[in-house]
Symmetry: none
Subunit: 217 residues, 4 copies
DNA sequence: CATGAATGAGAGTTCATTCAT
DNA sequence: TATGAATGAACTCTCATTCAT
């Protein structure tokens, strides 16, 4: 399962010459940004850094993005777009709680392993206070929560606080992925089994739960 | 259990006037820094921002800290120092796996609730790529791992990969805490029960585990 | 013989509008720098002082030079470039020791008189310990030494330590020039005759000299 | 002939305890300043640098000197005071032009050799525009001029422009000293002979000269 | 007198952004 | 549309100097 986080430098097809160059430049900037973000972290990266990693002129940047933040959001979106279908499909097809959880972890660890630098960028990216966490965007917190609720409806899970479970899964996924990357010989498969067993086993013992009337925002 | 993350403005005793003022100024800077970090995030915060939140002159900052990074490290240390004993004590006295895990979550959620701003600062703080995560420092990843290993020795837990479990616990703690803070009426106690049940229940079903030969730097 | 040390504000020809402005700005900065260096001395001058003497914005300076040192080096180079050919030509055409020495002094005093401020800047410029003296660069210590050796080969001078003679000539030139500038009615021509007679007369009585085995690095 | 440029850390005698400490602190500052000036050059040296090279507190500096400039002047004065008597004595006792000139060069080169660092400091010290050159102060331009005039009166020298000759001697002394210091095996004695022969030989051929009516300031 | 923390002006430099070409 | 020089606000940090202790 070698899921590229993002296909970079995709050759644009079926566009006029002009539009093609435009698309290419956008790509060039995004690729450079992803690279630099992963090297320096979001906070340390400046628009200048991104431009410098490019053969474009500084002014050109502003034809495509208004700011560093905007590039970053575009990157997140890209990543989420690449990630989401794989994750959702695995979970929708799941016939058991275990399959559901395992699909999530396996996809995530595989991606993290295949894209260490980019994963690091995401993981070490500072969040604007008050805004949704990058990791939550990337793994798709909201989709995960919905999928969990659908799974409850399908009888895969008992009634439980979908939001908290989603949070727990994402937390486990990220922290274990990080721990894994520090190891000399990371075993994504074993980690995946560990995380899956932990969550699935835990779910069985959760206290009973009604509709989370108090979940806001 | 209302554990303040940090006791600020500690009154200095038994010091000369001079030393006392020095101590006070240090406190003033640290407090301002914590506040600003939590408002703007680490990356967006400048030394000037911190100074401005103070009645001190710009040069004075550098009598106390060499850089933004150094203040930040001092803050982390303070937080860890305040946190660590409470966490360790609860875990050392634990007579069951449940008590062990519950001690960790309860302390953490209580603190997070009592110090929303500061918790946000920690949680939204960008990590220098390649350096230990702030959250891991604050909750004490290393101590948690050791405590888990001691708990295994004491028979509270089966043999398992202490590092991964520590990672999982920290991940669950942080993400659930964050989810909690978005709620209108966060119920730290319920969240604590949820997280504890999840982890404790999961542990029971974990695949058997030998010595983690592959855990390296 | 009114040799300007440097021709400033050279009109650029055959360049696009953009390149022309760039060239102009470079000139503006160099001119301002020369002026300020001569007023305040190198050590007291700050980059900001230079910018302030200009209608440019502070950041613009850094589009042209990385530091004060770099502007200074550019100035020295300019000066040396303007100076060197005049000096060398006079010496190469010299048919006697006297003509050789006189060419050096006359050129130097004429320039010093014509460019009092700039000469002062050079003369009052602090040398980075361990690096070649500004005055030596400007008058071209190395070229002078080579020319002396060639003159020895041509039989104009007896065998002598070219390095020491070059040093002596430069020392006499600068100190006399400085003394001259303090006078109400400096007579460059008389000073030139004085210096020339001193050196030329002295050379005749120098102790015999073999190959300078001890001139190193 | 091992003439120390300055006797540092001289133990004060015959002073009260209080005055002694005062004198000591002054010494400490002067010594540190001389050291730092010679390492960094005058322009790069800050008062802070000098204080740091000392065990004194920053405020203490200002009990002794008003500024970097003032310390520097004190250093020059010290140096001149140490130098002057040796130079004057040698010249007053001189029975020939050669002895006169040789006394100056020999003393100077010996000192320069014995105090390379300090000599470098003097030589590389930027002059405040419009003020007398450090080197001129140290070797005693004014005394040299007077001594030359007295020597003319005594019949050692023909009538000549004493000011220009003084300038020439100082120029030759400094530049040759500097050239010498770059050599692997500097031979001060040979350099002294070279310089002496050059000047003495030159003097004999100087154009006749009346009283320099135009020497001003 | 010695001390050393506080001060705030100011230096060097970088940055995001604009805009004439 | 791409370019890249100009801009000047803003940042980090150092410095000379003061002054309460």
């Amino acid at each position: 399962m070698n899921v590229p986080l993002i296909r970079t430098s995709a050759s644009a097809v079926g566009l006029g010459r002009r539009a093609q160059t435009k698309e290419q430049n956008r790509r060039v900037i995004l690729d450079a940004a992803r690279q630099i973000f992963s090297e320096l972290g979001y906070g340390q990266t400046t628009v200048r850094d991104i431009i410098r990693a490019t053969s474009l002129a500084s002014g050109t940047f502003y034809n495509y993005f208004k700011s560093k933040e905007e590039v970053f959001e575009a990157l997140c979106e890209e990543t989420a777009l690449a990630f989401a279908p794989v994750l959702r499909e695995g979970r929708e097809e799941a016939a058991s709680a275990e399959a559901f959880v395992a699909a999530t972890f396996r996809t995530f660890f595989a991606c993290a392993a295949a894209n260490r630098a980019e994963f690091a960028a995401i993981n070490h990216t500072e969040v604007q206070p008050g805004r949704p966490n990058t990791r939550e965007i990337v793994v798709g917190f909201e989709e995960l929560r919905q999928d969990i609720e659908m799974a409850i409806a399908r009888g895969l899970f008992p009634a439980l606080d979908a939001e908290l479970l989603a949070a727990a899964i994402i937390g486990v996924a990220y922290e274990i992925a990080e721990a894994l990357q520090k190891r000399a010989t990371p075993d994504a498969e074993a980690a995946s089994r560990f995380a899956t067993a932990l969550i699935v086993g835990g779910i069985a013992t959760l206290p009973k739960y009604g509709t989370p009337a108090n979940s806001a925002l």
